[in-house]
């Protein structure tokens, strides 16, 4: 094996004008000036950070008192149950819907079709993204032109679910069928059936060509990739191909919403959403009402994982409500979740790299073909992330090219799903890098370390698809090497014991992982804190707790600043009437963006606390600190409690003040958290059957504010990643009919399917994050597929390049090898 040393930084290269380059770089990073005053705290100085504070909703969850959307039915004595009628064909037009029998039934309050006045006829995107959405407006609430089996075409409101179901069975739909196209490669053929007339779509995205079913084409390059490949010996240019399937979010709580008009005739929703404010804006747009007349309330939510970064069902529920003139609950069935709602995009990827004799990457090129399914929600942006998440693992590669096509087919729609393109991208990039190392006789881990990102690197790969340098980033925190070293040790990389049977082989694979912390330049979080007279606080924050525990994290951040206990803070989150604005819970943004807004709000309130403390203690502000539920002087040791301040400020004889604080956070920064996923596997060379012995994930998420919650994110993310690698996927017949319709057919891992997992948190300090924090939510969804593919390669010398990895795939590869 070659002896590898880490490569120098791009800035240190002898070719190129260093001084000039540095000057340009300094100018190119406005984020540099944004770095807040150093809030780094040693472990001893932390009061409520790096603490396993009890999740604030834990007790009501374990007693069954936590209320999710469907649990609010008791507030609405007249609540009707909704039911959606869905297309039974993959492509065509609905020519007639006979609703007469349903409408005549007792207990049926309303039946709506695309032609009803209460059903908006505008184009929109269901993607919960900032305005204007980087997704095409190609949806209608109910669809005359249907493009997959599952498209909503009509809906019913009835007194109960059973009546709604019976009524649904009487609906008679006449279709004019069109030829469907199910294969993304075939879809771009000029003779392929066309899903959209270009006139049917507004807000088209980059590179759209609807005559070829192209929702988007994009490309970007740095350096000169072709020249780099040409210069390199052929045997040092390696190309590989990868394929990934559909994945279901399997949200525990199916999409559910209650639509009603409040007593002031405002359009009101209690709804399971990750994006209350985007939903409010989109409802206002669709129903043509002012934003002030829409209220979206998120109760406890049975997780989202991106499935609820969508206004998937709210407009249907509201149209039903308008038709029935009574509150309507629309709750999806599990069957609908498995064929009609939202999924991870299937993709085909191609990766090519050039590596010099020393093991330095000279060029890399990635291409992805994404199957967007029938509609374009998150289509382009997910495909963008296939490159812009994993390629930044290698920021010093001088020649980089990334290109993608996002194609429509008559299958269910891909959308946002935890990881957001990064799981697909990491499978291609990190399996490829392992393969390259093995073919060129380098140790796969040393090869990675030689080329991998380090603190101080300038990462332009993240911005490869954008014009200009605005979103290039300086890497200010990177614990990747420590993740690798500690992961190696935990998995026993250097002393793996082989099984006694000669046909069983054991191997270990590793994948490096990166994600982001929010969408650079496309985030806004806001928070407001108000003090109560007894020294407690109400924190109003737009950030959306989807079950992750972000409300608890917010209380820890605020308490650390204010000097109170986290339990002294009542967190009111994500109600568009009651809380400041927030883009929502997606893109791993909640700690980094919304958490920073909370910190700023707390600092704002703290300034007023200190002002009152100064007055009451007769001490200058500079001497004062907050902590132990008081404001105290570092000089005299005297203190005044937050409660005394609260009463004095509220009821004092002289001037009075309601102590308030507000915080607003937006930034061009999106620092990557890093991780290393290890998988230890034993493979049978006779059958291809494999068993995962252990998985280790080591994560650098900056400072972990609540390590227990961070571990929960890692272990849950690995669960999804394990499914993606080993057991998930949807199947369809050749007419586009879904064949996986429930948990029994879909391979979601159970308690007995999980190998032992070890979780390691590596601390770094991210100077742009709240108390040094980055993100964690999506990072761990990216690692198992490449780490498992690499482990199998290590064990038996064959490469599996498609997911989920089955014993048959391995057996086939072994047979090919032996032929």
């Amino acid at each position: 094996m070659s002896n590898l040393e880490e490569t120098p930084g791009r800035n240190d290269r002898p070719d190129g004008d260093r001084a000039e380059e540095e000057a340009t770089e300094a100018d190119a990073f406005p984020g540099e000036s944004e770095v807040a005053a150093d809030d780094r705290k040693s472990r001893d100085e932390r009061e409520h950070l790096t603490e396993d504070v009890e999740k604030d909703d834990a007790r009501k969850i374990v007693t069954g008192e936590a209320r999710y959307t469907a649990d609010y039915r008791d507030r609405f004595p007249e609540l009707a149950e909704g039911k959606v009628i869905r297309s039974e064909i993959a492509h065509g037009y609905v020519r007639n819907i006979d609703t007469s029998e349903a409408e005549a039934m007792d207990g049926v309050h309303a039946v709506i079709t695309p032609w009803d006045d209460v059903v908006p006829d505008k184009a929109y995107s269901s993607s919960g993204q900032s305005y204007p959405e980087p997704s095409p407006w190609d949806l209608r609430v109910l669809r005359e032109h249907v493009r997959y089996v599952g498209d909503p075409i009509a809906a019913i409101a009835a007194t109960d679910t059973e009546t709604a179901d019976r009524a649904a069975r009487t609906i008679d739909v006449e279709y004019e069928e069109l030829e469907p196209v199910l294969d993304p490669e075939a879809a771009t053929d000029p003779d392929a059936p066309q899903l959209f007339d270009p006139d049917e779509v507004e807000n088209k995205q980059r590179g759209a060509d609807y005559e070829r079913n192209l929702e988007s084409h994009f490309e970007g390059e740095q350096g000169d990739v072709e020249r780099a490949f040409d210069r390199m010996d052929d045997d040092r240019v390696i190309e590989t191909e990868w394929e990934t399937p559909y994945q279901s979010h399997c949200v525990p709580e199916p999409h559910t919403t209650i639509a009603h008009m409040d007593e002031d005739d405002r359009y009101s929703f209690i709804t399971a959403t990750q994006v209350p404010f985007h939903t409010r804006r989109q409802i206002a747009h669709l129903f043509d009402v002012p934003i002030r007349d829409v209220r979206v309330t998120k109760p406890r939510i049975g997780a989202g994982f991106g499935a609820k970064q969508e206004m998937a069902i709210e407009p249907i529920a509201f149209a039903l409500h308008l038709a029935a003139d009574q509150p309507v609950k629309l709750e999806m069935t599990r069957r609908e979740e498995f064929y009609a709602l939202r999924f991870r995009h299937p993709m085909q990827m191609r990766m090519r790299t050039a590596v010099d004799e020393d093991g330095t990457l000279e060029a890399m090129e990635l291409y992805t073909l994404s199957n967007s399914g029938a509609y374009g929600t998150h289509g382009m942006t997910v495909a963008n992330n296939v490159g812009t998440k994993p390629l930044p693992l290698y920021p010093r590669v001088p020649n980089v090219r990334f290109e993608g096509d996002v194609v429509h087919t008559n299958l269910p729609m891909g959308a946002a799903m935890r990881g957001y393109g990064a799981p697909q991208g990491h499978f291609a990039v990190e399996s490829h890098m392992d393969e390259v190392a093995r073919r060129l006789d380098f140790d796969p881990i040393e090869f990675r370390k030689r080329n991998a990102v380090r603190e101080g690197d300038i990462d332009r790969n993240v911005t490869i698809l954008k014009d200009g340098d605005r979103f290039s980033r300086k890497i200010r925190s990177c614990g990747l090497r420590e993740c690798i070293e500690r992961g190696k040790e935990a998995i026993g990389y250097d002393d793996l014991e082989q099984p006694a049977e000669p046909h069983r082989n054991r191997g270990v694979g590793m994948a490096m992982i990166a994600q982001g912390s929010g969408v650079a330049g496309r985030e806004l979080g806001a928070a407001q804190i108000k003090m109560n007279e007894d020294g407690s606080f109400h924190l109003q924050v737009g950030g959306v707790d989807t079950g992750t525990g972000s409300d608890t994290m917010f209380s820890q951040v605020a308490a650390e600043v204010l000097g109170c206990e986290p339990t002294d803070i009542v967190v009111i989150s994500s109600d568009t009437d009651l809380t400041p604005f927030d883009y929502g819970a997606y893109a791993s943004s909640t700690t980094y963006i919304s958490g920073q807004a909370v910190k700023e709000a707390a600092e704002d309130a703290r300034e007023r606390l200190v002002h009152w403390g100064s007055k009451m203690l007769d001490e200058p502000v500079e001497n004062l600190k907050t902590g132990d539920e008081q404001v105290y002087s570092e000089v005299t040791g005297d203190g005044v409690s937050l409660e005394e301040i609260g009463y004095e400020a509220t009821y004092g004889n002289d001037d009075r003040e309601h102590i308030l604080g507000k915080g607003n956070h937006s930034t061009d920064e999106s620092p990557p958290p890093y991780g290393a996923q290890f998988v230890d596997v034993t493979v049978s060379e006779e059958t291809g059957e494999y068993e995962i012995n252990k998985m280790v994930f080591a994560a650098d998420c900056g400072v972990a504010i609540n390590p227990a919650l961070v571990e929960g994110q890692i272990e849950g993310g690995e669960h999804m990643s394990l499914e993606y690698a080993t057991s998930g996927g949807l199947e369809f017949d050749d007419e586009g009919n879904p064949e996986v319709l429930g948990f029994r057919q879909y391979g979601m891992p159970r308690t007995t399917d999980h190998p032992p997992m070890e979780t390691i948190i590596v601390e770094t300090h991210e100077p742009t994050g709240p108390f040094g924090a980055k993100s964690i939510a999506e990072l761990p969804t990216n690692g198992v597929p490449p780490a498992l593919s690499n482990a199998i390669r290590d064990a038996v010398g064959v490469r599996v390049d498609s997911l989920p990895i089955t014993a048959d795939d391995i057996k086939r590869a072994l047979d090919e090898r032996d032929d």
Partner: protein
């Protein structure tokens, strides 16, 4: 029809349709702790105990439970006085969105009643029909093993004349002494 059951220790009578499953009756009457995750008996989020046995209430016809004893999450501890299983889930951070948790706890309760000292493998096998999407099951399995220890600890306390074991237990021990520490 009228459905008479003993629910969480109380004799109750509910109105029910013939087509109702037990989950419908429970949820309609305010027992919303049991969740509707699939309505096909494939996810375990509606798990309750019927005559002590774990059962998926979404596929149990209401008529079939007439005269039975039914236990739901609402019959366990309260937020200020949690059952040791609930306390163990809280202390082990064995929950995230929480939608599967009432079913998980009821399934675990049935396990610990029949097998008070299970191995990790036995816990995993007992919970294999209860799906969780958030946690990767690791902390859930740890919580059930921890609960078993706590509940066995309580028994030891009673059996040996009340000597406190709280020095050996986390500060969140369900007994009063433990909690006050």
């Amino acid at each position: 029809m009228q459905l008479e059951i003993e629910l969480n220790g109380q004799q109750r009578t509910f109105e029910a349709e013939k087509s109702d499953v037990l989950l419908d009756v429970l949820r309609r009457n305010g027992y919303t702790g049991s969740k509707r995750g699939c309505d096909t008996g494939a996810c375990g989020m509606c798990t309750v105990q019927i005559d002590g046995e774990p059962a998926m209430s979404c596929v149990t016809p209401a008529a079939k439970v007439a005269g039975s004893t039914v236990a739901t999450i609402e019959g366990l501890g309260t937020q200020s006085d949690l059952h040791p299983l609930q306390q163990a889930f809280v202390d082990n951070s064995a929950l995230q969105c929480g939608f599967c948790i009432p079913g998980m706890i009821m399934r675990s309760k049935a396990l610990l009643e029949s097998n008070p000292d299970p191995t990790e493998t036995e816990v995993r096998e007992a919970l294999a029909d209860n799906l969780c999407r958030c946690t990767g099951y690791k902390k859930i399995v740890e919580a059930v093993l921890d609960a078993a220890d706590r509940m066995n600890g309580e028994k030891t306390v009673a059996a040996d004349g009340g000597e406190s074991r709280c020095d050996e237990l986390p500060s969140s021990c369900p007994c009063e002494e433990g909690r006050s520490k």
